[in-house]
Symmetry: C2
Subunit: 433 residues, 2 copies
């Protein structure tokens, strides 16, 4: 990109929460290239390709919106065993673009697969003919604008030229920056684990809420591993782990038409074969995958539009997990709770209101509420030791932890969100000025 | 109150929407008195009594929150045929106040009923002994603070002294002002109609979102009529008409623990007896009641915290009314739609997003979207005549009308909301500074 990344980050990001990154380096079987297709009036990278030279097993989960973008339709239509390319563009969501949007993807996939097949002949001992259906897409940006097919097609030769078979810290950073919209920070996470005696890497990047020309809170997450896990097991692992990670976050309660989280497994590390999702050999991998997804998901919230605080809402001891989730999200999505926290006000009455409106029957004489280590409500009554000054001090922290004990069962759910500030309104109402 | 109402209003209200009031005058059988119990550090009226000297038939609907205030518990516990007094206080919601809150109401009710019984002996030909259970309460304000029993009890003699049997424009205005919290405008509405040949009045007042020390969006609405309608029919009429009026509005998606809308029927006008809710003699009354409730509900939205625009969202031609309501509220509660409208931005992509997340299965090739008179989406495609300049001009209006035609049935729902502005954040996050 020709710019100093450190300067870029420090100038762009006013956000002080979760600013430290893990360094991602090489992971076998993944190649990354990034270019600017000039989708913004800005020379920033806006088009990122992940190329799997030997193909990758993969699984994806998509938005539950009843309106989905054309790239998600494309991805769902390709019935393939291995994927060879993931192309992610920003600035345009390719949603409500109809046939124009879908056909553009088809043409781009045809051209890229052709060019990659040519490259295979040069670089590989056993070259493969890559088919257009082995290319999938992630899109994020404005809804309803014509998809910039030409701009993207013009840059395909550059994307191919830039392919390198060794990645480093810089190229991962560029990929994480290249998929950003109004994010102020790139989002990266990694873990290492074992399957059998083999050391396995799990790398991930994601983007969060809002856009340079904001239109909606679009979330993308891509996870890469050198393990050899079949598609059906990847799918089960992803679905299971998404519940407590990407499906446990909310910035502003608005659901994107383009949400997409995928995992790609390049099978470059040899290890004992995995037969099913309950295979004990997967335990460490399962745990590490959850950590990567949760780390990425938390970064999305911490960098949510206008965020000044990261908030964890831990709802414990409910009759069912659904009850716990309803209460956690009722609090996490309440504008009055979120503005109180923005104002550093320990306004626990609003927590009570949000629990009440969740629609879950509760014995209020048994509930307890804590902010951080401070007990506020104990068995339905204001704690005798409650000191508003102490809690007011606690509210000044960047990370706020709210814990609700319902005392009527054993099920738990933790939701993650951020506060609601004037900057959210500024980003979303004033961007044309 | 010793202050000039017109000056008060023009200085306090920055809001330009729905500023005109109807003048409410006398309605037989209702007496109003208002005092300051010094619940705020301010000599403003904060305690309002409606006294029905011959009793009134009545019906109420209450919040659906799983946490309800002590006054609502009190009201639900009194199994009575006629109510003699409604006492409304602001500043304190009497919620999460436990036994202290409930017993305070009991003491206040006992004292008021005693004093009113004494007054009956002086003023009435056939004096009645009024019982404490014939007094009901409306409370609005901060949750979880000790209920100011003493301050209120001290003012009971004043409340009684101030009873006048003729009301005028000023006393209604004082009542509507006396129940306000962070409202910037009093909310009043009236209609006249006929039952048989008798002319009937329906007067109403309400309060809306936020508080001086804001804690939540509490809504109260009280409607008074001189018609003679029995309790069971009042209840059915209220429940039916609440669906399209108070239950069709949202300011910020947060549900109060204290919501309460009541109707009181003093039976002072003689007319043919009403036997059931389907009685044709009720048609005009039913229609007029809906108008009063809708007028009050719209005023609550128009004066919602930080509102600069009043927004109607009309969802047409759905398979079921539930579907239409889901879509209408999904749009009305979307922070991204509401910030776009605050920014006067015709960002229809966000409307698409909000329709998509409503969870209703839709044929997107059939939907049409209009802003005011301007067609945006026609049968799933951007209208050929769409001119962004025109729509941008339209977005500058104070009243925004959004119409969505789903074209898959015949059911309709209209929701009312306001935009989401920096003032909302200021009111709710910065109030301590």
């Amino acid at each position: 990109m020709g710019i100093n990344l450190t300067n870029f980050l420090s100038s762009k990001s006013k956000n002080k929460i979760m600013k430290e990154f893990q360094d991602l380096d090489h992971i076998d079987g993944v190649s990354i290239s990034t270019v600017s297709a000039n989708l913004y009036d800005d020379p920033r990278d806006d088009l990122v390709m992940f190329y799997f030279r030997e193909g990758a097993n993969y699984a994806s989960v998509y938005t539950q919106s009843k309106i989905v973008s054309e790239n998600i339709k494309w991805n769902l239509n390709q019935k393939i065993k291995k994927v060879f390319g993931l192309i992610v563009n920003t600035r345009n969501a390719n949603c409500f673009t109809g046939k124009q949007g879908y056909r553009s993807l088809q043409k781009i996939a045809e051209e890229i697969s052709l060019k990659l097949s040519e490259k295979q002949k040069i670089d590989e001992d056993q070259p493969r003919k890559i088919r257009s259906k082995e290319i999938i897409f992630g899109c994020t940006g404005t809804i309803g604008e014509i998809f910039p097919e030409e701009k993207i097609r013009n840059k395909i030769p550059d994307l191919i030229d830039k392919i390198k078979y060794t990645q480093n810290k810089l190229i991962w950073m560029k990929a994480a920056l290249g998929i950003m919209t109004t994010d102020t920070q790139p989002k990266m996470a990694m873990e290492e684990c074992h399957i059998g005696n083999s050391k396995i890497k799990i790398f991930g990047i994601s983007k969060g809420s809002g856009m340079i020309q904001p239109n909606m809170a679009t979330t993308l997450g891509y996870v890469f591993t050198d393990a050899d896990v079949p598609n059906n097991i990847l799918k089960k692992l992803l679905k299971k782990n998404i519940v407590t990670t990407f499906n446990a976050i909310t910035c502003d309660s608005d659901t994107s038409t383009n949400d997409m989280v995928s995992i790609f497994s390049t099978a470059k590390i040899k290890h004992p074969k995995i037969k099913n999702v309950n295979d004990e050999k997967l335990n460490e991998f399962d745990f590490a995958l959850n950590k990567v997804l949760l780390n990425l998901a938390k970064r999305v919230v911490a960098d949510g539009e206008g965020a000044s605080k990261f908030i964890s809402i831990d709802v414990k001891n409910c009759k069912t997990e659904i009850d716990a989730k309803k209460i956690a999200f009722s609090i996490a999505n309440s504008p009055l709770v979120k503005t109180a926290i923005a104002g550093e006000d320990p306004n626990w009455g609003r927590i009570i209101m949000a629990i009440g409106k969740a629609g879950v029957t509760i014995n209020f004489e048994k509930i307890s509420i804590r902010f951080g280590d401070f007990s506020i409500i104990k068995n339905g009554k204001l704690d005798e030791n409650y000191k508003e000054d102490q809690i007011s001090d606690y509210m000044k922290k960047n990370n706020i932890y709210i814990s609700i004990d319902i005392s009527s069962g054993s099920k738990t759910f933790t939701a993650y969100t951020m506060d609601l500030t004037k900057n959210y309104i500024e980003i979303n109402a004033d961007y044309r000025s």
